[in-house]
Amino acid sequence: MSDAVHPAPTAPDLARTHFRLGWIGVLVFLSLGLVLEALHGFKVGLYLDVDQETRRLMWRLAHAHGTLLSVLHLGFAATLAHLPALAAPLCTLAARCLSGALILMPTGFLLGGVWIHGGDPGLGILLVPPGGLLLLIGVLSIVRAMGRRG
């Protein structure tokens, strides 16, 4: 068994991770955008019919939140690259929270739109509130880290 303690990631490490995460996110969610546009293009009833309004809203929210959160990751990575002296523990917390939000929020909206109940989304939507909480904590951590910067 190894007792090795993982050292806290440095700002450049985090920046590299979040640049990668951000660009992967942009790729994934812009692709989702293309899929949604294709659903429009081929007039797919599953997405466009009036009774599918909730699904359409959920999937558009998944696309929008995923893309914007990915851009947020790129912004976070750029901040870390520019300001390597940011408080490390808070940055680590922010990194974990933002990563969680990037997964939970778009996935929640996406799954919420797979099974719908009239005007209500499916139970996948339950992933969104914790994702939103993580996002809030992540951004708050960054603000606090900025405040503590030397």
Binding site: V50, D51, E53, T54, H117, G118, G119, D120, L123
Partner: protein, 650 residues
């Protein structure tokens, strides 16, 4: 505006003062432009004239349903139920208001629009209502006129009628003693398909009259069925009307929904409902879960010939029936055999002495369209089975919005669901080719014996053809509606041979010798004549009975005293060879006297085409071997025309 305020606040804090004011100015300008473009659909004058919205008595309004039921909201929104009553606007008004002058019975009506508002210069409709019982000769030659704003519409499918605000604010030159709140009917309706104005009284099957019939007040006559939760608020001679929804909306069929909306703000409750579909939601009425009587009553609250039990109360507070209630607790549904001494019946007969004769065939079958409940509840399928309106119709999942039949109910399948044994060998049951109109369940068991909106509609008293009933009551049977060239005697023989019905031994000479459709067209009362005229042009009838011989009878009906009969005859005539190419035009609106020439002209067209198209030379259709009409016999029948006044107002 909020955006502009927020921008101003932010700009004052973040930008130099000059730039801040410039930015705020741009935002205010953009907001103003936006507000101008999106002008409210209901201006203040209009809002004051139409019923005010209310959310009392547990109603929530249809807007509250959309968020949770987008599909149901949309399917309702596309229906003609929704657009039954609308606020007059550029979108809802279908009629031509482009400086039009109309004339009926010597009176002029001028219509025009001013921007998005619609106006009429008419003889004061209130004057006509107040002088309902004054003989025409005693009315002043120049009755008072008003210029009144059109504020609401009724109908959007076949006919559209218009409601004039009678409050002082909407009427130029109103008398000082004007009652307020009245919504009174324009004396013309717009025929949507034909794109023309028709005098309102000529749009119904009503006896001919030289005077303009008084219109009706929407507040009293129409609001109970053409809106939701309307309280007419009649007090003295004015109305203070309020409503939940204009048009037939969600809560007409599901009952007041405020408790349902409140309960389902709780997401946990909603999701438990989603995963337990069997139990239903006790906070709202689902007509599919009701017993057959209560389910049918929801449609029957309007689609029946009825009257509120407490008329005085309903005139003030509106109808008391709510979805799920027993109809009999709130309304008296009239039948032909209703106790004539009942106060509700007395009330109807006092206002309209021939009300029952017009609306019912003599065996009690309803003959006014739109009153299908009266037919359904005396049908075996309802009495002995579980059939309700929802067996065939769906208000949300319909094949098309006109009849709102379920996609699977446009053919025979719904009947076969219960009568599957007949479908095993349909030809053995119908004695007609399986794919012919004679094997359609509806054609035989729901013949077109009700009248409304210028057309014959299917009876919702589901029964079997009977020559004996036709002979006794004058109600056409399905056989003679297709076989318009055959006698009632022929039908009786077929029904005896095929189904073992009792032979009919007491048929009149006419019904033994002359095609039933001709007897009804020439000798019948106005409803029989209208239905016979429609039948003579019906496509399955033309296929079964030929189409070259009907022209002479339809030509005669062009000068019928009843405008509806004349229109039915012309509509049928246009489907016949010789008349299809537009070489004969006709306007049914002018009165009987003006139409004699038209009858003669049509007869000439038929005469000219006869050598080419005549496909029956048969005494049953009163055309001799040489192809000449048997005039003496025709005129004998024509002179026996039943001129009993018939009034069918759907």
């Amino acid at each position: 505006m909020l955006l502009a305020l927020a921008a101003t606040f932010l700009a004052l804090h973040a930008l130099p003062r000059g730039q801040a004011f410039a930015l705020a100015g741009v935002c205010v300008a953009l907001t103003s432009v936006g507000a101008t473009i999106r002008r409210p659909a209901v201006d203040a004058t209009l809002a004051a004239a139409i019923p005010t919205p209310h959310r009392d008595e547990g109603f929530a309004g249809s807007g509250a349903c959309r968020a949770c039921h987008p599909f149901h909201f949309d399917s309702w929104h596309q229906s003609f139920h929704r657009s039954m009553t609308q606020v007059a606007s550029r979108d809802s008004v279908l009629g031509d208001f482009d400086n039009v002058t109309l004339r009926s019975r010597g009176r002029l009506t001028r219509l025009w629009k001013d921007g998005d508002t619609f106006w009429a210069d008419v003889v004061d409709p209130l004057f006509d209502l107040e002088n309902l019982n004054v003989p025409l000769r005693d009315l002043p030659p120049e009755p008072p006129r008003v210029q009144a704003r059109v504020v609401m519409t009724t109908g959007s499918h076949h006919l559209q009628t218009y409601w004039l605000a009678r409050g002082d604010a909407q009427v130029a030159g109103a008398r000082a003693d004007d009652a307020s709140g009245w919504l009174l009917q324009l004396p013309f309706v717009w025929h949507v398909e034909e794109g023309r104005w028709i005098p309102t009284q000529d749009s119904f099957l009503t006896p001919p009259s030289r005077r303009v019939a008084a219109g009706t007040a929407w507040n009293l006559s129409c609001s109970p069925c053409h809106s939701v939760g309307t309280r007419p608020g009649l007090e003295d001679s004015s109305f203070d009307t309020d409503t939940v929804d204009l048009g037939i909306a969600c809560e007409s069929c599901h009952g007041p929904g405020a408790a349902h909306v409140a309960a389902n703000r709780d997401p946990v409750r909603r999701y438990l409902q989603h995963f337990d579909r069997d139990s239903g939601d006790p906070t709202i009425v689902d007509p599919r879960r009701l017993d057959k009587e209560s389910s049918a009553a929801i449609c029957g609250q309007c689609h029946s010939f009825h009257q509120d039990l407490d008329l005085a109360e309903s005139r003030e507070k509106g109808v008391t029936f709510r979805a799920g209630d027993a109809l009999a607790d709130h309304k008296f549904v009239f039948g032909f055999d209703s106790d004539r001494e009942h106060p509700a019946v007395q009330g109807v007969l006092t206002a309209e002495p021939d009300a029952f004769d017009g609306r019912f065939w003599k065996d009690g079958t309803i003959r006014v369209a739109g009153r299908e409940y009266n037919g359904l509840v005396v049908s075996k399928c309802f009495e002995d089975g579980e059939m309700t309106c929802l067996t065939c119709h769906s208000l949300h999942e319909y094949a098309e919005p006109s009849d709102q039949l379920k996609p699977g109910a446009t053919g025979d399948q719904t009947c076969i669901d219960c009568h599957g044994e007949l479908a095993q060998d349909i030809r053995a049951h119908t004695h007609h080719a399986a794919d012919s109109p004679g094997s359609s369940c509806m054609n035989c068991h729901m013949p077109h014996t009700t009248w409304g909106l210028f057309t014959a509609m299917r009876s919702h008293r589901i029964d079997s053809p009977s020559a004996a009933t036709s002979a006794r009551t004058g109600r056409p049977n399905a056989c003679n509606q297709c076989h318009v060239d055959r006698t009632l005697g022929w039908t009786a023989e077929q029904l005896t041979a095929w189904y073992g019905q009792e032979p009919v031994t007491d048929l009149s000479k006419d019904h033994q010798e002359v095609a039933a459709s001709i007897v009804w067209a020439l000798r019948g009362d106005a409803a029989q004549r209208a239905i016979a005229a429609w039948t003579l042009g019906w496509e399955p009838a033309r296929r079964a009975s030929g189409s070259g011989w009907q022209g002479s009878y339809l030509s005669m009906l062009l000068s019928d005293p009843y405008a509806s009969v004349r229109k039915a005859a012309y509509d049928a005539l246009r489907k016949l060879p010789g008349f299809r190419d537009g070489n004969f035009t006709y306007d049914f609106v002018p009165g009987e006297a003006e139409q004699r020439g038209a009858s003669g002209s049509a007869m000439q067209v038929w005469g000219a085409s006869r050598s080419t198209f005549l496909d029956r030379r048969d005494a049953q259709v009163l055309i001799d071997d040489r192809g000449e009409p048997m005039q003496q016999r025709i005129m004998e029948l024509y002179r026996q025309r039943d001129d009993t006044p018939v009034r069918i107002i759907e």
